[in-house]
């Protein structure tokens, strides 16, 4: 946090603040200078904070009624849906909330990709964000297992079996993860425990993420540094708080649309069949937000290779600040990167689509081309592009384009 000279007005306030500078923190958060040209793509940080808190509060309530036992989990979910007052509402907020959380995080990540928010001096913010994303995926996966439906059970089986691909120790690791020789009650109870705990880790990382953000300050759509704070920035409150709130309300309207009108559209109907260790569903798919990675996994005709590429596709993102060496942050001034950014988006969406389809014929071919392109984008295209690209001239300041009418 930057140097702060805030002194409370009241005597008690001063006494308290000298001992625990909460008031200084509040003042810093209120006055925090924010680039005045931020667009609505910058409102997703606030939306994501809301999503995390909403998941934690609804999850706290669900844990009051849910029973983490292989024999009772499935019927306790039905108990929540039918008996508990407003249980249906709270469960639908939680299950659709996971999807909305991922929707928001993907927009947030692609915002960073387009505007170069991962570049110096914001690499740590980016890496913390990627760690949050990894934990989110782990938490969502374990949460999906808890209803103990067919998709829960077989999703858990498939994902935990990924670890069996590790040479030599793979089998032991899987047995250790399961607490047995197959996914069963011990797996369910530990997943419940960890599903409850991980959000607190996420919350901790979110605090670090915001702390790291407040050192250099926000990036902005034109990606140049703030020259004169008095000219180029506005205080966070009320300007950004009200804008974030407005964006959050729009987001909540869409969120409510899912909760009240299509609460099961993003889920899979097989998960309303109780887990059966003897029968695998005809067609196993993960939740939509994991589909691109699922496509990458299935595109490789080798067990270990598929797992390596799956994890590689996420870890490669952490190296992004060093793979892209362009000094210009915003893609507004990077004509080549702008094109490849959109190709990457189409590629990821295509991978998501084929991830939901059976792994055969044309779908498999698309998955393979898409996987190859995904890695080529980060390992070949970006490093080369960032060196040869002729970027467009940057404005002199954040205010400059407004004043000169460009």
């Amino acid at each position: 946090m930057s140097e702060h000279t805030y002194t409370p007005q009241s005597k008690f306030g001063k006494w308290f603040n000298d001992r625990l500078p909460l008031l200084s923190l509040a003042s810093h958060l209120t006055d925090y200078p924010t680039p005045k040209n931020l667009n609505y793509w910058w409102t997703f940080g606030g939306i994501l904070t809301f999503c995390l808190l909403s998941q934690m509060i609804t999850g706290l309530v669900l844990a009051m009624h849910y029973v983490a036992h292989a024999d009772m989990a499935f019927s306790s979910i039905e108990h929540i849906m039918r008996d508990v007052n407003y249980g249906w509402l709270i469960r639908y907020i939680h299950s659709n909330g996971a999807s909305m959380f991922f929707l928001a995080v993907y927009i947030h990540i692609f915002r960073s990709l387009f505007y170069g928010s991962y570049k110096s001096p914001r690499e740590i913010i980016w890496i913390l964000g990627m760690l949050i994303y990894l934990l989110m995926m782990a938490t969502a996966f374990m949460g999906y297992v808890l209803p103990w439906g067919q998709m829960s059970f077989w999703g858990a089986t498939v994902i935990t079996n990924l670890f069996s691909a590790i040479p030599l120790v793979g089998e032991s690791i899987t047995t250790w993860l399961w607490g047995g020789y197959a996914v069963d009650n011990p797996t369910l109870t530990r997943f419940f425990s960890l599903h409850y705990f991980f959000p607190f880790l996420i919350l901790g990382l979110v605090i670090l993420h915001i702390w790291a953000l407040h050192v250099p300050g926000n990036n902005n759509p034109i990606g140049i540094d703030v020259e004169k704070p008095s000219k180029d920035t506005v205080p966070f409150h009320p300007y950004i708080t009200i804008k974030d709130l407005f964006a959050l309300l729009i987001f909540l309207i869409i969120f409510s649309g899912f909760i009240f009108f299509a609460p099961n559209i993003l889920g899979h109907s097989d998960n309303y069949i109780e887990a059966n260790p003897l029968v695998t569903p005809k067609h196993i798919v993960p939740e939509w937000y994991l589909l691109p990675f699922y496509a990458i996994l299935r595109s490789v005709p080798d067990k270990l290779g598929g797992v390596v590429l799956l994890f590689g596709s996420i870890f490669i993102l952490m190296a992004l600040p060093w793979l892209d060496s362009s000094k210009v942050r915003s893609s507004i001034f990077r004509p080549l990167n702008r094109i490849f950014f959109w190709i990457l988006i189409v590629n990821v969406l295509a991978l998501g689509y084929v991830g939901a389809m059976p792994a055969e014929g044309l779908y498999l071919l698309i998955a393979r081309v898409g996987t190859a392109y995904y890695f080529a984008h980060f390992l070949i295209i970006l490093p080369v592009l960032s060196r040869i690209e002729k970027t467009q001239p940057l404005p002199l300041s954040i205010t400059d384009p407004v004043l000169t009418g460009k």
Partner: protein
């Protein structure tokens, strides 16, 4: 002057209207999160209990569970009934006639919960041959009325009906 006054009125109205709608919305959102802790439908479904009393001998009592709490059903003897009926009401901490506490004098149906702090009293114990609460020493008579000790009121009588000679429905 007049014009600017009008403008600020309209803005005030918009602010108040926004805050009001916001407050209603937040309240409506919070309510489900509070109400989910109230008894749910599966709990409410257990609101009545039917008990077969044909096997109870005079002087004996049984304890049944209703809504998770014990209910005493006691078949009183002639002596116990006359004791309960002959008490001078002015001696009582919580004056109630025995006739008001039973539907048939032979049968006393009563919540088995001490009115002090919710323990279950022991039957046929205490100075008044009714119930005695081991937690803090409250003595109840054969009508379940508080006679001595810290409990403030008599033991509560639940809603019940005699479905037939041998069956009581509590709740």
């Amino acid at each position: 002057m007049e014009k600017s006054g009008k403008k600020s009125d309209r803005r005030d109205f918009l602010f108040t209207a926004t805050y009001t709608v916001g407050a209603v919305g937040i309240g409506a959102t919070i309510w489900p999160f509070i109400d989910q802790m109230n008894p749910d439908n599966s709990v409410k479904a257990l609101a009545t209990t039917e008990v077969d009393i044909s096997q109870i001998q005079p002087g004996k009592s049984i304890t049944v569970l209703w809504r998770g709490k014990p209910v005493f059903i006691k078949r009183r003897t002639e002596t116990e009934i006359s004791e309960a009926q002959s008490v001078n009401l002015e001696e009582l901490k919580h004056p109630e006639k025995d006739a008001d506490r039973v539907k048939k004098p032979e049968w006393l149906v009563m919540m088995g919960i001490c009115s002090h702090l919710g323990c279950v009293p022991l039957s046929d114990k205490g100075e008044y041959k009714g119930w005695f609460c081991p937690c803090h020493g409250s003595h109840y008579d054969t009508s379940g009325r508080i006679r001595k000790g810290p409990a403030p009121t008599n033991m509560e009588i639940p809603k019940y009906v005699f479905v037939d000679e041998n069956t009581i429905k509590i709740g």
